[in-house]
Subunit: 436 residues, 2 copies
């Protein structure tokens, strides 16, 4: 962990333990926590007990989950023990900081065992319960998620739903919600997807970040639209940074963008069949504002969406940087994510300033963002889970629109080219060619 | 509200309604919310019902607060009505965004009246209850706050405490905590200063920020230490920005800083009589790291503490800026808080990037911050409640240490000079003199 992000200021190790009946969105929350913290450079991993159990029992029926079924009970306990052992080994040997333990963990007894085991290993347990009594949310989860579960591969969907509902009943018979006898535990209890949230004994900075993040999640399906600004005058000369105007071709892109977006919106699927209101976010720089100028939606400009600050290299071309700062040029190639321009920023710095943007994006529904190459790469890396050693090298051509469809367990990307020529601003590692 | 800070993205007006028995820290929370949001440029004001009641009844005894006392009841109701009317007028006529209604608001009936009245006026009600059954916290509040209350001016402190305890009993007789019959309300319930927090139906972005802020508050007394870096080579030439080394005198300050701090720590009062561990925060620039190098405490460097980015003016003197960018120079004088250097930042931009620092400072205890002139002004403005039109002009000489003692209702500032000469970097409005 680098110090300057101060993401783990208390130097703690946290075991996030999911709690909840099946079909309450536990795995969804678990995976989002992993993605969010990984993006912030916090070493985070999920340990899903179901995956361990499936090694022994790939396609169990509901009866397997009956508490009176001794064989099933033993196998499920074995799976939980194996997962917890692996998680603790990961903390100790691989420098893990946040481990997410994804299972129902539905009884006080089971939770006490997990908490005690983690505390013995020097890991702070933090429980995250997803509690839900809204039948429409539960049914939505059953259909949307569980018919695609590995447990039901090759099973008729109708039968899978019935069996899964029976499995839930087996759990309901023994389920104990987090509560009165567990006030010593650190926990967050989300009720009906955050309509009410109970937060108990949250202590460290990292815990408070996780709480704030999951408080802001919602499950409405939606799209995020991303575009770089149109080609700028600086782009033409291969210069970095600055605050130049759009080139002639960049202006053509700005004019075409409304119909490009409209066409894509009409091909998107919205819950109520209606194309929703969008909000357009831009940076504070001229080239993004000029690109968005013909989009007839409410607009907001954010300093946090400004391009990576190249410091002393602002306004220079890659060739000039290679000549004037050869060591810096090489250092940036060696670790583009960490390299900070003299007097400027690194990709890591951008991620830190983008964090409030990500938080706000999680709260919002349909947003169109017009921004810059490096910033777009970082936003994209969050949604698509791209590792840090790859994201700074990602190709994002000018004059194309990216649609991200955010779904429960994946994000589908569509790229729509405006078919307006532009220079390439992508630089391969080791190259200083003005245009690739 | 400027758009780029996106502090009021939902365009809402919020009435924050405090709930709780006397001596539960309601006014403290209310005042911190006002200070925090005002610092973020959100128009916020507190309406304290006690102040309205005191216009009629300056020094009531406990009997005045008995629910069976019809005269007292009517006067208290009148005060609440007058305060709420003023608050709604402020929303409607003065562009208020967050009004904080500070009173006990201890019954379901009273809260329903407030919520209905606000909703009729197009204001979203959000209740913030401080609930506490820890006698040591309550007694601490009684002694620390209420013996200085205007109600008890001139009263013997022992008598004041007894009377105030009686007043609390009168409220306890009718008190109803937020709960089961109020699940339609938006509320936050803080139990024993955040040991447990219940959050119900939080919706807008601003509400979620307020929740996260009050979740992070604690009430332990403590000090924040602030210092600018020692005089730098750029300071000598009157140049802005850059990343230069300390001058010879700057290095003298760095060497003297440990004993300066140690002496001040020994003159500070800590609850258990022991001088506590500090953590030292610096920016990522050489001059703050060189200044902190002899401080024998854990250190953390934050990009967010870097100096205001002067963009194209980085490295220039004020004289040069006045010659090369005369219009900018004048624009900055006209509104120094809002003026953003070409390709750089404004004071407002700094405040936005300092927000996570403030949040972390609220969570921490004793922190020493070595940073830069503009950043220090913004941090100071938060703690000392300095208006935006004044904070950018504040004098913070080089080579002096500022101690802020954070107490319940005020902050006491002490400045300790190291007695090492340095140039002045303060520029008066309208002047471009290199050194004042």
């Amino acid at each position: 962990m680098p110090v300057y992000g101060a993401r783990n200021v208390d130097n703690v190790r946290i075991g996030v333990i999911m709690v909840g009946l099946p079909a309450r969105g536990k795995s969804l929350i678990a995976q989002k926590i992993v993605r969010y913290l990984s993006w912030l450079s916090v070493p985070t991993r999920c340990f899903n007990v179901g995956n361990y159990r499936r090694k022994e029992t790939a396609h169990p029926t509901a009866e397997f989950f009956d508490n009176a079924n001794a064989v099933g009970e033993r196998l499920r306990r074995n799976a939980a023990e194996a997962a917890l052992e692996d998680m603790i080994r990961w903390f100790e040997e691989d420098g893990g900081v946040v481990g997410v333990f994804d299972a129902t963990n539905s009884t006080v007894e089971r939770r006490k065992w997990i908490a005690d085991t983690l505390l013995d290993a020097g890991v702070e347990p933090m429980f995250v319960e997803s509690w839900c009594d809204d039948p429409s949310i539960v049914m939505h989860n059953i259909i949307d998620v569980k018919t695609t579960s590995p447990d039901y591969v090759g099973t008729d969907p109708e039968k899978a739903i019935t069996d899964f509902q029976n499995r839930i009943k087996k759990y309901e018979a023994v389920y104990e919600t987090l509560g009165e006898n567990e006030t010593d535990l650190t926990y967050v209890k989300l009720m009906n997807v955050g309509a009410q949230v109970v937060i108990n004994r949250i202590q460290s900075y990292l815990e408070s970040r996780v709480v704030y993040y999951i408080m802001n999640l919602h499950i409405k399906p939606r799209y995020i639209w991303l575009s770089r600004h149109g080609e700028s005058e600086y782009n033409l000369g291969g210069q970095l940074g600055g605050d130049s105007n759009l080139s002639e071709r960049g202006q053509m892109y700005a004019k075409k963008l409304p119909s490009l977006l409209q066409g894509a919106l009409e091909q998107s699927v919205f819950p109520d069949g209606k194309v929703p209101e969008l909000t357009v976010w831009t940076s504070t720089l001229k080239r993004t504002n000029q690109t968005a100028r013909f989009l007839d939606y409410p607009k907001r400009s954010w300093k946090a969406l400004d391009e990576l600050d190249a410091g002393v290299c602002d306004g220079m071309t890659y060739e000039e940087i290679e000549q004037q700062y050869p060591e810096d040029f090489k250092a940036r190639d060696d670790n583009k994510y960490e390299y900070r321009y003299r007097g400027g920023e690194s990709y890591r710095d951008i991620v830190i300033r983008l964090e409030p943007i990500i938080m706000e994006l999680e709260r919002q529904e349909n947003i169109m963002i017009v921004t810059h190459q490096a910033v777009l790469r970082c936003l994209y890396a969050y949604f698509m889970n791209v590792p840090q050693d790859q994201s700074p090298w990602m190709q994002v051509p000018l004059h194309s629109l990216i649609r991200l469809e955010l779904r429960a367990f994946d994000t589908i990307e569509t790229r729509i080219s405006a078919d307006i020529p532009a220079v390439s601003t992508h630089r391969e590692k080791g190259s200083s060619a003005k245009h690739a």
